[in-house]
Amino acid sequence: MNPVRRAALVVGLVLAVLVMVFATREAVRDRMTTHLVGAVAPPVAGITLDGTVWDIDDQRGRWVLVNFFSTTCVPCIEEHPELVAFAEVHDGSDPAVPEVRVVSVAFDDRSSAISRFFGEHGGGWPVLPADTGRIAVDWGVVAVPESYLVTPSGHVAAKVVGGVVRDDLEGLLDRGLAAVAGDRTGS
């Protein structure tokens, strides 16, 4: 074969491989949102709406659902009843049901609006209303709502981008419980 043609063929093949590789790569935004699962949960601490101090480190030994939301976001309003239902079932009153502490972290919002939001839509769990920008960045929050299920050992078990559905949360919790049980058995 002519050396020039051979070189052209090699270049063409390389280009084809590159096109294939880049075309089948997951989207940038997907890659930006799929990290953190399996890692140690970043810090979540602050003053809640009712003025008490809340720190995720104090919740070790319990499952925690960290929910990032905003009162002006429609999916956040839509998911709220699902969160309320999930929190009620997992409030620790039934020994047969695993307890999950829910905490909401307001994103780019105001305390007065958040108080009104919870007054109207319900939900008695702790809410961090202010100075939450750094928390959101630490968790790599791209767009609210986002929720993270954190294991009793303080690791992120699952991440939900967009509004949560109670049944999906139950499924994630079941998988997390099974994984934790598997770890214990394994160890």
């Binding site: 590159l18 930006m32 990290h35 976001c73 994103f107 780019d108 009104r116 960045v137 767009a143």
Partner: protein, 435 residues
């Protein structure tokens, strides 16, 4: 030839001069491009080095979406804490992945962006060297062929091949240049010696703010071509279109602006006004209620106060039987604003007056009583508020014990400078004021 060595020296000197100029320019440009000194400069530079996670083609510095603002704020905090640029970079890449970083690393697939240009340049250089070697080796043969009594076909063929090759190289060079220019991105003002210097979006927005409606529309559109999610451009283009009568396009822009950044206060006022005019008073009330939860600039409060938009929406809701929603809207305004300082008292008085009037208008004795109490408070807060005085006078007409107060309110109203014409007409029609 006598001049041979001298010409060679001149040639070397010229090449040396070219080399000095090129190297000197590179050194000067590198030295001139010193690291930013102030923290603000560092934050600005860092924000330009990272992509906004939710935007298409915008850096953190260019984007107005909440997450970009939040990350910028975090960068500012870290810089103020004394963290290095490398630490900021590491933190952001850890949290949002390598794709947020506009400066690619040398690892993995990303490393190809560094390797491929070098390989391409090496291949191009090799190709050009081979071509040159071929031409120079072919040239004497063609000369000889010509000198040997050839008919000239060989020389002509070589020349045309050479020209063809040169055209090919030129085409490849131009295409490569275009490719580089397209992938290198636009240069912003003050950032380039050559290339397409574009106006910054901030400059365009400032120009649009003082331009005639048609020109403003074009300027906002230019901003949106650069930053499709620029909430300020969307909101103000929508408002500009609303004011020029293009209602459908205006509402699309305003909806897009809210979808882009629901926390941008200005667009909430614009859309509330548009929705109210379209008869969607409930939607308008939602926008104002959301606005009450935002950290709106004072000018937005002033705009609301002078336009009496909240009162007009509340009045419309009440007239449609949505008294509760109307009261909630007024209460939301009363709860949200910080009524510290004398400058905000007229606005507070106006809201209290409207609230009292709506309650009294129900004609339910208990609510009328509460309405009057509200009007009393309104007059205390704003003794010259025309609505508080007129409303209290009208409601007081049905309460014999308040006859003196009615007369005093009417008298106070009568001496106001330029009171609202509708109120004056109402008082005249009720016989409280002389025509």
């Amino acid at each position: 030839m006598n001049g041979g060595p001298a010409r060679t020296d001149w040639g070397r000197a010229i090449w040396l001069l070219v080399l000095v100029v090129v190297v000197g320019s590179l050194v000067v440009s590198e030295v001139a491009d010193q690291a930013p000194r102030t923290n603000a400069d560092r934050v600005h530079a860092l924000a330009g080095d990272f992509a906004c996670p939710v935007c298409q083609g915008q850096s953190l510095g260019e984007s107005d979406v909440p997450i970009a603002r939040t990350i910028r704020s975090t960068i500012r905090t870290m810089v103020d804490e004394g963290r290095t640029d490398a630490e900021v970079r590491t933190m952001l890449v850890d949290r949002f992945g390598e794709d947020i970083d506009y400066t690619p690393t040398g690892r993995g697939l990303t490393g190809l962006v560094w390797v491929l240009p070098v390989l391409a340049a090496a291949a191009a250089l090799t190709g050009v060297s081979l071509a040159v070697a071929r031409w120079t080796s072919g040239w004497p043969r063609s000369q000889e062929g010509s000198a040997g009594g050839s008919d000239g076909v060989g020389t002509s063929g070589n020349t045309s091949n050479r020209n063809l090759a040169l055209v090919g190289v030129a085409v490849v060079a131009v295409l490569a240049g275009v490719l580089v220019a397209r992938t290198a991105g636009d240069r912003t003002a003050g950032n380039a010696l050559t290339g397409d210097i574009r106006s910054s979006t901030r400059t365009l927005l400032a120009e649009a703010g003082v331009a005639a409606p048609a020109d403003a529309d074009a300027l906002y559109t230019r901003v949106l071509e650069i930053q499709p999610s620029n909430v300020e451009a969307l909101a103000y283009r929508g408002w500009s279109r609303w004011r020029t009568g293009d209602r459908v396009a205006a509402l699309v822009d305003l909806d897009d602006a809210v979808a882009s950044d629901g926390a941008f206060a200005d667009v909430r006022v614009f859309r509330a006004s548009a929705r109210h005019a379209e008869g969607d008073h409930v939607g308008a009330a939602v926008d104002l209620t959301v606005l009450d939860g935002l950290d709106a600039p004072p000018i937005v409060g002033d705009l609301l106060a002078t336009s009496r938009l909240r009162q007009r929406i509340a009045g419309a809701l009440a007239s449609e039987g949505e008294l509760l929603a109307a009261l909630e809207l007024l209460d939301s305004g009363l709860d949200a604003a910080e009524w510290v300082g004398a400058s905000r008292q007229p606005e507070r008085a106006a809201l209290l007056a409207e609230r009292g009037w709506l309650l009294a208008s129900t004609r339910v004795p208990e609510l009328v009583e509460r309405g009057l109490a509200g009007l009393d408070e309104a007059v205390v807060v704003g003794p010259t508020d025309p609505y508080a005085l007129a409303y209290r006078a009208v409601v007081g007409m049905s309460v014999p014990a308040r006859a003196d107060q009615v007369a005093a309110d009417v008298q106070a109203f009568a001496v106001l400078e330029d009171p609202p014409a509708d109120l004056t007409a109402s008082l005249i029609s009720l016989g409280l004021l002389d025509g």
